[in-house]
Each structure stands twice: as structure tokens, then as C-alpha cells.
Amino acid sequence: MGKLLAIVLVAIAVLSAYPIVTHMFVLPEDISTHGYAIDSQIHDTMLEAGLSFVGAQIVLAAFVWSFTNRKEGSPLRSFPGGAKVAVMAAFVLVGTEVLALGVMGQKAWAEVYFTAPKPNAIQIQAQAEQFAYYFRYAGPDTKFGAIHPDKIDEGNQNYFGLDPANEVEARDDIVSGELVVPVNREVQLLMHAKDVGHSFYIRELRIQQDFVPGLDLSLHFTATKIGKYEIVCTQLCGLGHYNMKAYMNVMSEEDYEKWLTEQAGQ
């Protein structure tokens, strides 16, 4: 019976490793300049965690196999040094692993969070609200109009609470339900939550960042492939959470300029 358990343990380890080793579930195509670092980090994590998992299962199975069917009356043997040493060893091993992953991942993290966007990056404000995203472009004057919560009038498309009657900066602001960006040009996203916590997740862009009410967060990225990608909310935000999505439309530079002109005319 003990030997059967050892076989089951090995079978579980091998079966769970199989889809990962054979790349059964591939990551969606990466369309960002920083994504390679995240993909390699995911790869390294899977490798390290996978090897440790399979290794640990095999060692466990080996112990089960060799110490099963103990003869009645034979002396009990314990690990040299007792449980204390085993627990210490586990702490050191797991600690080293976590630390190593952190050090290795530091580059991927820093590229997104610790470097400033390029000076020519396009600033786009992203506002998350129950249950939609709206994006704002500063328009020809490159200045965003101030936000006045009391002026918010969703029925009349004033999602940001702009005051064009009194503020010139707000008059040329472009508000869109779709995030339109030019290809191969850096974008700085200024993230703003209108009500509760939300999240901004684009798989292909390898970006997942929470919106935090009261905090204006900044994120920068460069999309490298023209196309339409889904933006979804991955932070449970209320009853309409399942339907909170938008699209990112990556366009050629010319199409992007054309789109801006079209929007400004409306």
C-alpha cells in the first residue's frame, strides 16, 4: 500500500509538469517593449518552482517507498539533528528561492515602475468607474482641464467633470471610451479611480495595475503591434464588474493623428 502511494506521488508530479514542460498553455503574444522581461521572469519562476516541486515530490516518494513496510520491532530512525534542522533547512531553501526570484525580477519591475517615461511620451488620463473606463487626451493645448466632481454629467458625456464654460484648458480635451495609442510610441497613463478600486489589465501588454481611489498612479508602456486588445477590470468592483471592459486600439502614427483630428472636431 505504501509503495502505491509513492507511485501516485510521482504520477501527480509528472502529470502536473507535463503541460508546463510541453508548453500546452502559451502566453498570449507580447506586444510591449518591456514584456520580454516579464515573460522571462514568468519562465524562470515556472522553472524554479517547477523543479523544486517535482524534486520535492520525488524525494517524498523515495522516502515513502524505502521506509514503507517497517518490520515489527525494528528501531525507529529519525532525521539527523531532529525536526529543528529540517525546518531550518526548509526556511533557508525557500527563503533563498524567493529572494533569488525577487533579485531576478527586479529588472522587470524597475523597467515599469522605477524609470521615468521618455519626455515625448503621450500623456493619457485613464479614469476607471463603475463599470467602464474613460480616457482623456489633453488636446492641442497639451493641458488637461481641471476635474470638478460636481460637474460630472454622464448623460451628457461629461465623465470627468470638466468645466468648459469657465476653463479654456478643458474645451479641447478629448474623451474616449477606447484607449487609442500610436504604435511604437511611449504612452504615460495617468490612472485615476472615480469611485472604488478597479484594475487595468491588458494581457498582450503584460500590464496589470490597480486603480486606487485617492491615489493618482502613473504607468508607462510602448505598444509594438497594431491591433485591438481587450482591457479588463481584474479587481472585483461591484455587481457590474463582469462587464467592465474597454479596448485598446493600437494604430499607425498617421491613423492616430487622423483619429485625434476627428475627435477634436466633435
Binding site: 468607474e129 463599470f131 473606463y133 458625456q157 468648459p164 474616449s176 477606447e178
Partner: protein, 237 residues
């Protein structure tokens, strides 16, 4: 009059009596036009990119209906009603229908009476969450997945208030719950007619969702037709 003619006339009277509405006796009429002065805000196209099943229903994006301006400065979507002078009336037995189609509210402004049945239906392929925002009536919000039966509701106090969809921020409409049946809603032409007003002194009120309301006094004696016009001040932003 011969016997035959008498019978025909009698039948005709019976038919007339059966078909004419058992409402107030025919009386005076108040009619007029609602216009604006100044420049109204330019209505922006509605961005429905979040909901592709709705967006694809429009060859070009529809524009917001907050201000519906017609030719000659006429103003649509204005509720004109008798706010004082007319007795309260029992609700009609027919339901007022509020439809959700193409991620928009049809009609944009729905007028119905106190305690009249309100039927809300969803013709879209997506879920809606209807959320009327009354101040004195009871507030509720209800989710309505596609293909589900209409929601039936009623309001027991007269009030005009906005309606929104909790899932689609651009969806915005209005409910006008009134005490009597003397009301009209202007179309693009801005024209309205309030017929069958018995003699008396009335307050005629015109309400617009972003320009507020205005009232005028009018006295009806007999079967006269009076003209009352309303002019709202439009704001460019």
C-alpha cells in the same frame, strides 16, 4: 324623420357614445411652441466601444439627447403639463413602456401618471441595470439580463427625475410622473397641444432636463384655444 332614418340616427348615436372616450368634456385647448435663445451645447456622439453588441447597431454613433434642437430654435423633449388647477386623475389602465434598445433609452423622456404601470423592457443582447433616481419616491435599481420579461413598477408620487443604467454610463433618461393626463412632450418642432381643458385657471409648466422649468398662468373659459409659448435660455457648454 321616417322610421328607418330614425333607427339609423339612433344607431349612429349609440356607436358614437361607445367610441368616444369617457374623459372630461371637450373644452378649451392650450397650445404653443417651446423654443430656446442663445447657443445650445453641441451634442457629442456617444462612445459605445465598450459594448460592441450595441455599437454595431449604429452606422454612425448616435448623439446624446440632452438637448434636442430643431429648426427655428425649436426645442424637443420638453414636458409641458398642467401643474396646478386641474384635479388629480386616476391612472389609466394601459402601461407606459420604457425600452432599452441599442444601449439607449426609448423614449429619452417618458411621461406617465401617478400609480400607472411602468413596463421596462430590454431588447438588447446585453444586461442592463436600470436605476431611476427619484428624491421623494422610493429608489430602487434592478438588473435585467437579455431575454428576461419586462420589469413592472409604479410610482405613487408626482416627480420628475433622471434614470441611469448602472452598467453603461452613457445611458441616461428621465421619468416624468404626473398627477393628471393633461401633458404633452415636444418633438423636434417644439410644438405642443393640451386639449380638453374644462374652464378654469391653470398653471402650465414646461420642463427641460438641463434648462430647468418655467410656468405660466392661463385662464380657459368655454371652448377657446389659447396660445402659450416658452423660451428657454440655452448655454453653449
Amino acid at each position: 324623420m321616417g322610421r328607418k332614418q330614425f333607427v339609423v340616427a339612433g344607431l349612429a348615436m349609440l356607436v358614437l357614445a361607445a367610441t368616444s372616450k369617457a374623459g372630461p368634456p371637450a373644452g378649451g385647448t392650450v397650445s404653443g411652441k417651446v423654443t430656446y435663445e442663445g447657443t445650445p451645447a453641441k451634442m457629442k456622439p456617444i462612445d459605445m466601444s465598450k459594448e460592441p453588441s450595441c455599437a454595431k447597431m449604429y452606422p454612425t454613433p448616435p448623439v446624446a439627447e440632452t438637448v434636442v434642437a430643431g429648426s427655428g430654435n425649436s426645442l424637443g423633449n420638453v414636458v409641458v403639463y398642467i401643474s396646478a388647477g386641474a384635479p388629480d386623475e386616476a391612472a389609466p389602465s394601459t402601461a407606459a413602456v420604457f425600452n432599452q434598445k441599442g444601449c439607449r433609452y426609448i423614449p429619452h423622456v417618458l411621461v406617465f401618471q401617478v400609480n400607472q404601470e411602468l413596463k421596462i423592457q430590454n431588447e438588447d443582447q446585453t444586461s442592463h441595470n436600470i436605476h431611476p433616481l427619484p428624491k421623494i419616491n422610493r429608489e430602487w435599481n434592478k438588473s435585467q439580463p437579455p431575454g428576461t420579461p419586462p420589469i413592472s413598477e409604479k410610482y405613487d408620487k408626482a416627480e420628475i427625475f433622471p434614470v441611469k443604467c448602472n452598467v453603461h454610463p452613457w445611458m441616461h433618461g428621465n421619468f416624468a410622473v404626473l398627477k393628471n393626463s393633461h401633458f404633452a412632450i415636444t418633438g423636434d418642432s417644439g410644438a405642443f397641444t393640451l386639449p380638453n381643458l374644462p374652464p378654469g385657471k391653470y398653471t402650465v409648466t414646461a420642463w427641460h432636463e438641463s434648462y430647468g422649468d418655467q410656468s405660466q398662468e392661463v385662464t380657459i373659459s368655454g371652448r377657446e384655444a389659447k396660445t402659450v409659448n416658452f423660451v428657454f435660455k440655452a448655454k453653449p457648454y
